[in-house]
């Protein structure tokens, strides 16, 4: 366990090909990683007091896809999964999220997401990263997942199939995970699409206390054993859909385990 190590020493130990300017071939910057993970690490350790179970299922090296559920009005889950890959793994790894397009359109959202390796989720970029043996983080629910209301917090909306086709094509193991707690931190009761449109985001979540500042609730993430699927990636939709449903069901089980293990939100 590397949890006690400083963020900068963990970033130094990332097995990425940084040049003398502290930048890797994808533009990921050590300086930005240290700053970003200093915040995420503090939130992980002290604010959300995240407990990660089964992180050993994530391979220490080589291509892999973390695939899980969204929990909460915005991507607290993503930030905490990124933190868990850095803080819990030895050697630490950088998980790279496949971000929604709107993030790259936002000032600061663009520069920070790209400098920390969270790229717009195009199939070409995802495939290249996997071929380069990177660790991807994928939320197949997309923005519809973060838009779930508090009452729907333990449900899963429809999954896309692109991630599974890519996993098959690139022979990448899928590490399923279930994340709980994000919806307690941001208990969404309403999403304003109108306000979202004005700000250039899909929606703005509102909570019973107004703006969606996160509450200091405990979060839990459970990683499952790798799932592997054989094929070409060009299989019929019906076939792929069956496999996607298997991943979705496993994520549902991990969410239930995490919910049980976590107990109360506080």
């Amino acid at each position: 366990m590397a949890r006690g190590d400083s963020i900068s020493s963990l970033v130094d130990r990332l097995e990425l090909n940084f040049n003398a300017l502290g930048v890797d071939p994808y533009g990921i910057s050590k300086r930005h990683l240290v700053r970003g993970f200093s915040i995420f690490g503090w939130l992980y350790r002290n604010y959300f007091r995240v407990r990660a179970v089964g992180a050993a299922h994530i391979p220490p090296r080589g291509r892999a896809m973390l695939v899980g559920n969204h929990s909460g009005g915005y991507a607290i889950d993503g930030a905490m999964v990124l933190a868990s890959a850095l803080l819990e793994l030895d050697p630490p790894r950088l998980a790279q999220g496949m971000a929604e397009k709107f993030i790259n359109q936002l000032p600061l959202g663009s520069s920070w997401s790209y400098r920390t390796g969270q790229f717009t989720g195009t199939p070409e970029t995802a495939e290249r990263l996997l071929e380069d043996d990177r660790l991807l983080m994928i939320f197949p629910e997309g923005a519809r997942g973060t838009a779930k209301l508090f009452k729907e917090r333990y449900s899963l909306v429809d999954f896309g199939t692109g991630f599974l086709r890519l996993a098959i094509k690139t022979k990448t193991p899928i590490i399923p995970f279930g994340f709980v707690g994000g919806a307690d931190a941001v208990p969404t009761i309403y999403n304003s699409k109108t306000l979202g449109k004005l700000l250039g985001v899909p929606y703005v979540p509102f909570t019973p206390y107004g703006l969606a500042a996160p509450l200091p609730t405990r979060c839990e993430v459970h990683y499952g054993a790798p799932m592997r699927f054989e094929g070409t990636g060009n299989e019929d939709d019906l076939v792929v859909r069956v496999w996607v449903d298997q991943v979705k069901a496993r994520i549902g089980e991990l969410m239930a385990e995490a919910r049980k293990a976590r107990g109360g939100a506080l």
Binding site: G109, R115, F119
Partner: protein, 307 residues
């Protein structure tokens, strides 16, 4: 081999010509601009490629290979004239090459062909279509020239056509798009955006073009050297000062207060990256860059007399 370099008076083309000459090739040049101090054994004809006299150069010189480096970007020529140079010139190069038995044509294009958009892949491969032209209409004729050259691959199969999409160059001549952008001491950044810029040392780029001449790969190839670097770091490492400004202000101030004079559409190119995958060119020619990204920036800082 006898090589005709069209646009030989350009800074990068001169380097190509000298490298070819150094490698034992016979070099002939064509450009409407003069190259005052060209070596005696390089014949330079001062004609516009679109004029009748240029055809005579093809007829009399009978080159084995033609390197077309006479396209211009929005910083060098404007409007219809730019379109005429890029399209008319490219057409003339191929028409004359077909008519006078040229075996190999190298079209030297730019990696900006792919366009800069918020959702484009991080590393472009050669089979991708151009994007973002709506936001940057000044790029359209360069893209069209590239596609025109590429369609010679099937229209004129007897000629080996090589289409190169070369990344930005930096070097002692201080020419090229990125060099122009970094010329002033203050360089604008769009607030909240910091795209990767893909560049190589200009002599490396010239070596890449020479590799294409000598290895004669058929097809379309991205040409790049070291890894790309975020614009903010390029600005810092070359001794410039980054001026982060909101996009609307940048658009209004371009060309004023020491900021570079760019077309409005070029703002997209300082918001989003254009990075290319050059593995196919490496496989086809064995070309490898010699100067790292760190060294390119260090050298360019010295060229600019940086602090």
């Amino acid at each position: 081999m006898k090589v005709l370099v069209v646009g030989i008076s350009g800074a990068l083309a001169r380097m190509v010509a000298l490298l070819l000459r150094g490698a034992g090739h016979e070099v002939v040049g064509l450009d409407r601009r003069p190259w005052w101090d060209h070596p005696k054994d390089i014949e330079v004809h001062e004609f516009d490629i679109r004029k009748r006299a240029a055809e005579d150069v093809f007829r009399t010189a009978r080159p084995d290979c033609v390197v077309h480096m006479a396209t211009v970007n929005a910083l060098s020529a404007i409007g219809e004239e730019r379109a005429r140079i890029n399209m008319g010139g490219t057409r003339a190069v191929f028409d004359h090459s077909v008519a006078y038995g040229v075996k190999h044509v190298v079209f030297v294009g730019r990696h900006t062909y792919y366009g800069a958009t918020d959702d484009s892949p991080l590393y472009h491969t050669e089979n991708e279509p151009p994007q973002g032209m709506g936001a940057f209409p000044e790029l359209v004729d360069l893209v069209a020239a590239d596609l025109y050259a590429a369609n010679m691959l099937w229209r004129e199969p007897a000629i080996t056509t090589t289409v190169l999409r070369v990344v930005y160059t930096l070097g002692p001549t201080k020419t090229g798009t990125l060099s122009s952008f970094l010329k002033g001491t203050r360089v604008p950044l769009v607030l909240g955006f910091d795209p990767l810029f893909h560049f190589m040392e200009e002599e490396d780029a010239a070596r890449g073009i020479v590799a294409a001449v000598e290895k004669r790969p058929r097809g379309i190839f991205n040409v790049a050297g070291p890894s790309p670097v975020p614009l903010s770091i390029i600005i810092r490492e070359t001794g410039r000062t980054a001026v982060p400004l909101p996009e609307t202000i940048i658009r209004a101030l371009l060309g004023k207060f020491g900021l570079p004079a760019l077309p409005k559409g070029a703002v997209q190119h300082i918001k989003f990256p254009i990075v290319v995958d050059a593995r196919a060119f490496h496989q086809a020619t064995g070309f490898e860059h010699q100067v790292s990204e760190v060294e390119v920036l260090k050298r360019y800082r010295r060229v600019l007399g940086g602090r």
